[in-house]
Amino acid sequence: MFNGKLHGLTAACAAAAFAVGGAAGGAAWADPDDHELVIDGESIVTEVAAQPGNPLGTLYSGWRYRTPETQALQMDDFENPVMLQVDLARDVWSVAEGEAGKSCALCHDDVEVSMIGVKAGYPKMNAGAGKAFALEHQVNACRTERMGADAWKWESQDMIGMTALIGLQSRGMPVDIDDDALAPVIAQGKDIYNTRFGQLDLSCANCHEDNNGVMIRADHLSQGHGNGFPTYRLKWQGTGTLHRRFKGCMDNIRAEPYKRGSEEFTALEAYIAWRGQGLSVETPSVRN
């Protein structure tokens, strides 16, 4: 599928596209551009050396693979389409819900203080549940166990808004998970990442490791990091979760996808968090 001849043809087309777009001068057409991500004055790290043992050499944020127009949407909190949902979630934070009559604010006080750095450390091993938790799992654990409220659906606007609000408090901070505690989960995730699935018989690595920087149809393949989720995707014309993206990729290769919130997707999330450590959290980001 990614043979030499096809590579050359798409290179010519992409070169023309990038010349018009005004992307990196001098660098190979396939590489991510050299633009700098500054959001309302705050500098965000989008390029960092990978740790030893990482299949990637240099980590590049997905932002570096997007067109300047898409990049611009993320650089301005007014233009960023997710911020409307983040504003709504701020209200929800302070509203009591469930049988215990508690709001998030009752225990966690000011979200802009208590949630600093939280998203950067996810996924996390949850001792009580004996499994790895994504942020969504933790939100629902608080809701069902402490608030006596109903769990939110993984992809609901409530959940997306709340995880975007919490994630925003880690924006600019490096992704930094507990490698040791999560070791078996990361190993499981790495296994899945390198397994070929579906009718097209592709693994995550085939695209995001072997071919990042290459054009797949009209899409500039990134390294597939999770540092910006939940993200607004132009394709979705809406904001979505990392597990939704995983499902989309599996649908694309005509495989039977795992479920959002499943052990498999959580393991995958843990592996790509491990693989992306050092890059800044960009939640809520804007992608294609």
């Binding site: 301005d76 007014f78 409307l84 504003d87 709504l88 209200d91 929800v92």
Partner: protein, 108 residues
Amino acid sequence: MAAPKPRVKVPNSAKVGEVIEVKTLISHPMESGQRKDKSGAIIPRKIINKFVATYGGEEVFSVDVGPAVSANPYIQFSMKVPAAGDLHFAWTDDDGSVYEMTKSIAIA
């Protein structure tokens, strides 16, 4: 549903006579009144029907908004800054609610 929330982008300061760009957004479902629910009944119209911006008490920009405008209406306009003052925005809902926001502009 959740209460509509306005957002605006206005420069903090400008020179006298400078033309500035003002961007506004309000989260609102803008139910057009054309949609039907599962049982086939019309979902009643509920939209922002008017937007007014005033500067130093004087109206500088207004929009009569119709049901064709979709959710979370984005309204952008330019204006000349005569002097320092307060830019006041008001969005009126069909149900009579008025959502407001004010931003001050200093002279650079």
